[in-house]
């Protein structure tokens, strides 16, 4: 499949999209939220955009007494409800022809031999050519069993000229040891190049835009260092509570749920050095280098904060506190808000703290990276004139209303000479439904194409846990998280944490 030999390909022909080669996907855990809300709609949207190969097949595997048609109905409902592109009967019919369902438990040998037969039949009937991705949309506790079965039934082994890949979702463990064990489980069956870990943040257009912003422009990179940057704040705030996910969330908490993966990956992209190219290997090297240089301050009691949302009002609605939610233990010490401070020990970032915070039931839903600059070294204006001038800032909004804000000082109209902050706002386009792909679409297509730059590797995952583990241990030994009122911006200890450094959190 070399492009140079295909006379219809031309590197200058940038209109032609990449279409995955013949292949199929096997989905474990078809009834879960992830499958129904993300994976199935993304597959339909890809088909609708013409990016899936002709003959693409989807096999569902679950402990349900279903026929192929029942499975198709489940996918149909999921697509109708959650797909981003319009529903088109002919696309659906084309796709649905490739749906198969295999009923069975994960420990059922017979089910896996049926799976094997099904896949072989698809290769024959639909021309999937032996290329299959196994999407494990199931709790990590089952990974071992499933990949063991795949190995036993020789499903993980590609025949020459074809591929087998496995796709997993976070959580990638709950600490360094478990992450290592999880990786060993997967790596005992699949080679590391065939394991795709989905961190859907990395599939977002605006996250990729961070790289474009930093490395395609002349005007940001020269000031992107400790000479000019005062500190960096990375925020992921949600307005919702745990919303019925008590079983998963209680015992996990905000730090494990998002700081270890999404926020540390964002930090990598914001702070890493320029990669030599944008292939997977170069990106991995730079991200890992940055993570290796990142470390916690010595006094964790002064540089971290955690909280649990208490009952209150969020956005005009009366809401329960975390401990009153269904399924949460009354004595739970799981944090729903976490903030940590990280230092990066390299020449570019020495002395510039990175503050990472994540929480539920905060003021509003927003994910952003704010690079806050130092004040100008000298002000020719009087103190009074610049009273309302704070720090310059470049803010990259990841979601929602993707875009970028630049904050700088400007003269107040009509005054002698008074200066105050103004925000200049760039709204990222691409909401045009047909053309901007959702993160999952992008990532699933990349899996099928075997294009790995946007997937975190196990070394990054383990290093991120290594950084976070001491904080988790510290918290585990220090009683209960502080309560904060729902609909606010978190516990007072988080404000105190920044106040110690003479800084404040941005109101995002």
């Amino acid at each position: 499949m070399s492009d140079s030999t295909n006379p219809l390909r031309d590197p200058r022909d940038r209109r032609l999209p990449r279409i995955a080669g013949p292949c199929g996907m096997v989905l474990f855990g078809v009834t879960g939220d992830l499958s129904r809300k993300k994976v199935m709609p993304a597959i339909y949207d890809l088909a609708n955009r013409g990016l899936l190969p002709p003959g693409f097949s989807l096999v569902g595997f679950a402990r349900r007494d279903w026929a192929n048609e029942d499975f198709a109905q489940v996918v149909h409902n999921a697509v109708k409800e959650h797909s981003r592109t319009e529903f088109r009967e002919e696309v659906w019919n084309q796709l649905a022809e490739g749906f198969r369902f295999v009923p069975g438990d994960f420990n059922n040998d017979q089910a896996f031999s049926t799976l094997r037969r099904t896949i072989e039949e698809l290769d024959e009937q639909r021309g999937t050519a032996g290329n299959h991705a196994f999407y494990l949309a199931i709790p990590p506790g089952f990974f071992g069993e499933v990949v063991g079965q795949l190995k036993e039934h020789e499903l993980a082994e590609p025949s020459p000229g074809s591929w087998r890949r496995v796709v997993v979702e976070k959580p990638f463990g709950h600490d360094e040891d478990s992450a290592r064990a999880l990786n060993e489980t997967l790596a005992s069956v699949f080679p590391s190049g065939s394991i795709f870990r989905i961190d859907h943040y990395l599939g977002k257009e605006t996250v990729q835009n961070i790289l474009a912003l930093r490395f395609a422009n002349a005007m940001f990179e020269p000031i992107w260092n400790s000479n000019y940057v005062d500190h960096v704040q990375i925020t992921m705030a949600e307005d919702i509570g745990i919303a019925g996910r008590a079983g998963y969330y209680d015992g996990i908490g905000a730090a494990r749920d998002v700081i270890q993966n999404h926020l540390m990956q964002l930090m990598c992209l914001v702070a890493m050095e320029e990669p030599t190219s944008f292939d997977a290997e170069s990106l991995r090297i730079e991200k890992l280098k940055l993570l290796s240089a990142a470390c916690l301050p010595r006094r964790l009691d002064l540089t971290t904060a955690r909280g649990q949302y208490a009952a209150g009002w969020q956005g005009g609605e009366k809401v329960l506190g975390f401990l009153e939610e269904d399924g949460v233990r009354k004595s739970s010490t799981t944090e729903t808000y976490a903030a940590i401070k990280l230092n990066v020990e390299n020449r570019r970032w020495a002395g510039v703290p990175f503050y990472l915070r994540a929480g539920k039931r905060l003021g509003r839903r927003v994910t952003e990276v704010a690079v806050v600059f130092k004040p100008a070294p000298h002000q020719p204006f009087t103190r009074a004139a610049t009273e309302e001038l704070t720090h310059n800032a470049v803010v990259m909004r990841i979601q929602p209303d993707e875009g970028m804000t630049v904050r700088f000082g400007s003269k107040v109209p009509g005054t002698q000479m008074e200066i105050r902050d103004v925000n200049m706002d760039f709204a990222y386009g691409g909401t045009f439904t047909e053309s901007s792909a959702e993160a999952y679409e992008r990532l699933i297509l990349d899996v099928l194409l075997g294009d790995p730059p946007l997937f975190p590797r196990h070394a990054e995952v383990e290093r991120a846990w290594q950084i976070l583990d001491p904080v988790l241990d510290h918290w585990a030994s220090k009683g209960k998280p502080e309560q904060y009122a729902s609909g606010t911006w978190g516990p007072s200890s988080a404000d105190a944490m920044l106040a110690r450094d003479g800084r404040t959190w941005r109101r995002p």
Partner: protein
Amino acid sequence: MIELIDTNAAGIAAEFVASRLRAGSPAMSMVMTLVIVVDEEGSEDAMRVARQASHEHPARVLGVILGDGRGHPQINAQVGTGAGWTGETALIRLEGEVVRHAESVVLPLLLPDSPVAIWWPADPPADPAQDALGRLAQRRITDAAGATRRRSKAINAQCSAYAPGNSDLAWTRITPWRALLAAALDQQPLKITAGSVTAERISPSADLLVAWLSDRLKVKVVRKNSRGPGITEARLDSREGPIVISRRDGRLATFSSPDRPDRPVALKRRQLPELLAEELRRLDEDDVYAATARKLMKLHLS
């Protein structure tokens, strides 16, 4: 929308700023100016298409309606922001002598230091790159399928007048066909010996597909007629057998290749907003279109 009667370029520019301030959002992030040259009849549709495309490419959209060229010059305009647009928009009606000097109205309204694209939804000038308005733009988009006069010759005329920066929506329409054919050869690197493209009798897209295939594959590609809609089949022959993509209904195609089962594949005829959005994604010269246009002229002459 604010109606400006008997105005000029400065009046329209001032209204842009005023409406921005009225909307309470003095900052805008537009990436280009899109000029649309259209007649009164087609203006509503064209502006609707541009509005949808503006969601992907925030732009200042200037619709220019060239009215009757006789008599006293008059400029009327509807100016606004918001209401489904991601940028600023003005629909400018010219009448009288100023019709022949439309560029004098448009030039002062171009966004500073950013690209300009121009689109003729119906009949384009014979040589878009030499047209007074066309010269202002680095991307000139015509639509041979939208021509109301001499339709069968429209794409030939555009190809013979080709200049860097020109492109035609007939070319944009075949991107999915080209993608599928290229993917077919990715999967099976066959040596192609001949080909054919079947389409309704007048189909500039089919003509371009023939030219592209014969240019890239260096083989004879035949153009055949069918009742449509649009392109109904593309076929590449090889010693191992043919690769065929056939589409009867303009929506769903069947993909066949040697030693592989036949497979259905969605291949929808795309609507104008999608085509325009694709066109505006890249504003530099389209080298592959240039080569294809040259080839089409050669095929036409031989």
